[in-house]
Symmetry: C2
Subunit: 211 residues, 2 copies
């Protein structure tokens, strides 16, 4: 996905577990000129009602923002946390089935390890999956995954609606790599790599060092 411009701050917001908290927090962020780029509910501890991780770009005064969010009805605690981008970085998404998907993941994890040890942050997220409809839905959803940059499709045969989905997410700025396979996906991907381990390595190299 496109990265938000300017500094992004991560806020962990604890609150009573009732509706309307996010709406009121969003209103507060809006009044600060900020833009919410990510929200996810957190795990619930026994003693806490609900937790939200909220990421905000474009709000100039973080301390005042935190004070104002703290004052929102229902909010019990606000703390600054690292953004998911800072902690987990850019995401390589690996989708496919059988032996290939594990080999692509292996190549990508090994290459990401070599980059991350020198200070980069690249994650490798794998969903083993088969079947045209399920694969097409999973490919389409990559365009709406936080921090996703490159998709590797790993398998022996992919085409039909999967190829339509590949075109759509390429239009949305996602790089698509695939292993050598039957079907029309190799015709619409950015890059076709014969060896699945090498396909994983290449996917990481394509996004490494580009901020």
């Amino acid at each position: 996905m496109a990265e938000p411009k300017g500094q992004v701050v991560g806020l962990l917001v604890s609150s009573d577990d009732k509706p309307g908290v996010l709406y009121r927090v969003a209103e507060t962020i809006f009044r600060h000129g900020g833009n919410i780029t990510y929200v996810a509910g957190g795990a619930k501890r026994q003693e806490v009602g609900a937790e939200l991780q909220v990421e905000v770009s474009g709000a100039p005064d973080t301390e005042q923002l935190m004070a104002d969010v703290r004052a929102v009805e229902g909010v019990t605690h606000v703390s600054l946390v690292p953004t998911l981008q800072a902690v987990y970085g850019k995401r390589v998404i690996v989708i496919g089935g059988g032996a290939q998907v594990g080999m692509v993941a292996q190549g990508a994890v090994s290459e990401a390890d070599r980059h991350n040890i020198r200070g980069e942050r690249i994650s490798v997220d794998t969903i083993p999956l088969v079947g045209e409809a399920d694969l097409a839905a999973a490919v389409r959803a990559v365009a709406h995954l936080h921090r996703a940059r490159v998709l590797v499709l790993a398998g022996a045969l992919m085409g039909g609606d999967i190829s339509h989905a590949v075109r759509e997410i390429r239009d949305a700025g996602i790089i698509v790599v695939c292993t050598s396979m039957a079907g029309s996906v190799p015709d619409v991907a950015d890059l076709v790599v014969g060896d699945p381990v090498e396909a994983g390595v290449m996917a990481v190299m394509l996004i490494a060092g580009h901020g």
Copy 2:
């Protein structure tokens, strides 16, 4: 993380790229009695200002909700999309460095492939990482990762603040597995598995078939 109760619907909301859209969408969802469980900005195509994937639980009338979100100032298009839970399912998170992290990922991907081919949805998300501070931050953030259920720590030596972080996320409901290693992490994990491939397999088995 704890799963929201009741049906969750995924909405893809296209809008002009200006602040306040999420705040007004959140207000609309609040008026429908709904709870926002996930929001992420999407990739930006040339012709579209901004896209948000918003997941909502507890709103009884999806059609009216979509109509009302469509009427929000700045919103240009609203469509129903599968939730990330439906598409990618539960997440196994693998964190660590060196040879072990790739072997854990391999075991987990291979086992998830066997479950998913029978209709389950389990993803394996890996961040190769070393260093106490970076590892502790990555472990802590697992509690705020959408759909994360189990963490596998893979390495040769982990302790100190990483062990504190492990206790915190266990309190938050995340299962923690680790490979055999030096340091105090094996003392605080739910499960220690000697072979890294087997650790990945076990992590998937621990969350498979539990909804």
